[in-house]
């Protein structure tokens, strides 16, 4: 995989030769500003549903192994 990644980066580096002086980077392709909606409360996902797909749910929470090992 190292060889493949090098090959891809080599291709990508072709853009290094372009003169991009003064060009603004794209942040969003459609001009949008401050998209807000009314702050209306809506029912949220039920806890049981949110936990239904969890590999190891426990007492209403997601259980994980210890970060300390």
């Amino acid at each position: 995989m190292a060889g493949e990644l090098s090959g891809i980066l080599e291709h990508v580096e072709r853009i290094a030769s372009l003169n991009l002086e003064g060009v603004e980077p794209t942040t969003h392709v459609v001009a949008l500003e401050n998209v807000l909606r009314a702050d209306e409360p809506e029912p949220s996902l039920a806890r049981e549903l949110a936990l239904e797909q969890a590999p190891d749910p426990d007492e209403g929470a997601f259980r994980v192994p210890s970060p300390a090992g």
Partner: protein, 488 residues
Amino acid sequence: MSPTGAGGAELRELSAAEAIGEIEAGELAADELFDAYAEAAGAESLNSYLWRAEAGTRAAGGEPLRGIPVAVKDLFCTEGIETTAGSRILAGYRPPYTATAVRRLAESGARLLGKTNMDEFAMGSSNENSAYGPVLNPWDETRVPGGSSGGSAAAVSARLAPWAIGTDTGGSIRQPAALCGIVGLKPTYGAVSRWGMVAFASSLDQCGPLTRTVDDAALMLGVMQGRDPRDSTSVGIEAGVRRPTRGDLKGVRVGVARDFSHHAEGVEPGVAELFERTLDLVGELGGELVDVELPHAEHGISAYYVIAPAEASANLARYDGVRYGLREDGEGELGTMYERTRSCGFGAEVKRRIMLGTYALSSGYYDAYYGRAQRVRTRIAEDFATAFERCDVIATPTSPSVAFELGAKSKDPLAMYLSDYFTVPMSLAGIPAISIPAGLAEPAGGGPQLPVGLQIAAPTFCETALLDAAHALEQAIAFDAHPGRRDS
């Protein structure tokens, strides 16, 4: 026994709009159509579906789609129905909600026929990156259907679905549509809500139709598009989407960029020849061919393979074995659990892109890669804006080649990436683009003829003009071959 023959084969020849017409006229029952497709999908040999509804499933079918079945790429969340994104890491995942695009189709009277196979997390141009096996091209089962929406394209082409939805980040609707001989539309970024669509590269991902006719694409986009409070980047198409009726191109200026057309390096002779023939049709239809320049389009692939992996590396951080999806045993240690889960859950291409993306975003390299790529993106968008001052739409081949053989590019990621040479710039610029069948051509290495796509692009939110131009060319090209009938 259906009066229309074994397996409802004749019913499955109808376009979605034709089927709706027959249902409205009382000549066809929506349930009969649904069962014909469900039975055909259940007996398929292309591996285009990952999940199928059973024949006999009954659901309400309201206006305006009247119960027409729809196939949905497995990248869209469907409540209670397995959604894998083609990945092992989401095997068995049943989402607690349905994507807005799918919900809008259902509310418009469409019925879910199945979930289609795809490249893992929509990363690929051949469908060989699915964790559930490749999809075969219905025109030649030794070849790929394109990707990443290859299951959707193969199913529509093989009459296993009347139409389907897919997603397009750099060509994932248009390229498989071209390779399977159908219509594929990537709308303007923001036309359709991304809510409930498993994220790959959020600034590029867009949902769109894969259909057999341009009119069906307009019909489907019309019901799916619109602003969604749950996706702040969705704006919808303010003017709406009008069904196309145009049969000519009078007054339409069609731009062609010499260096970004059939003259580009790596375009197969058969593809180039059909593209030239299509340009002749523009004049015959009363349109005007205009030379334009897209000097930065050739750098699209370079910019794309920085931006898309960078965004993917962030989006895919969520698959950590904690809240849903696969968890591998970490022998009591959290870090080991993350590492094993992601090592086992992701395929090679996904890992490759996560590594590329994190590298491009890393301290010290950010400006050289991500910063530069986003500036090239600005240049590409400016090139299109300048070109559209002189023309109404721009035409290119959709893909440099016809469908290639399974395995032909799977060992060479860069060669695979270059399949999207013509489709990536439109994604980077956020503009709408459609692929329609241009005809059949012999592959460069010889063999039976295969479909070639024509890509047409338009300025942002000009979907109606785009669909009109595509419709006029579709009528003139009169492509009516399909995998079961090549001699048209």
